[in-house]
């Protein structure tokens, strides 16, 4: 809407006027404040939304790391029971043979070889099944 001049002093806002507020500028400023307020309220709600997303994300992340930690302890248990304990038993047996321990520790060697062969065979079977 074209602005209508209200008086000789309000027409231009130029060097030639006698100062004071130009109401078209005031109208723009007021409208800008109004819109700025609306946008800041909307932005605040958007910030709440981002906070909610972050909260969900961090809770899912900590749930995931909890599951990963449990899986890691199950893995450690598996390694302990299936690999370390039999080898320690074979080592105990070898130690119990006193000076012949180097000879009887061939049992440890055989066990290590069997385990490695089993692991490699299992890996191969797994790759064959998956692919």
């Amino acid at each position: 809407m074209p602005r209508q001049p209200v008086g000789p002093d309000e027409t231009s806002g130029s060097d030639g006027d006698s100062g004071g507020l130009v109401e078209s500028r005031v109208r723009e400023i007021v409208a800008g404040m109004f819109v700025g307020g609306i946008l800041s309220v909307v932005g605040m709600f958007a910030g709440f939304g981002i906070d909610i997303v972050d909260t969900v994300r961090s809770s899912l992340t900590s749930a995931g790391s909890g599951i990963a930690s449990e899986a890691a302890s199950i893995g450690d248990l598996f390694v302990d029971v299936v690999i370390v304990t039999p080898l320690e038993g074979a080592g105990d047996l070898a130690v119990s043979t006193w000076i012949f321990a180097p000879i009887s520790s061939a049992l440890v060697f055989a066990l290590v070889a069997a385990m490695s062969a089993g692991i490699i065979y299992g890996t191969w079977r797994l790759v064959v099944i998956v692919t």
Partner: protein
Amino acid sequence: MSGAETGDLEDEYTDGGSVAWGKVAGGIAGIGLSVIGYTYASGIGLVRDGATAFVDGLGSFYATVVSTPFTAGAEQFDRAAQTAADGLAVFGPAAFPVSVLIAVAMMLLLLWGVDRYA
């Protein structure tokens, strides 16, 4: 300032013509879209982090399974060798010659083993 002119002014202040509501609505929609985009990117990042952690965990578990027989077996070999070396004390002053004999025998055994495939 006459009454008529004041009426015009009020009209200009109150008719909302100086606020481009369409652009404001566009800005509000943009803010909403940015939240949706952030949510989407967060979800993608979460899935990516989870997949990375899963693959890393699987890899490190497999590395542990492959290496543990050797590290644990080496520990048992160490124990056995230490026990046997301590056991040589039963020979008293003859422990040194006996250990030299054992070393020579071991070396010959190794050479014999290598020689079979030469």
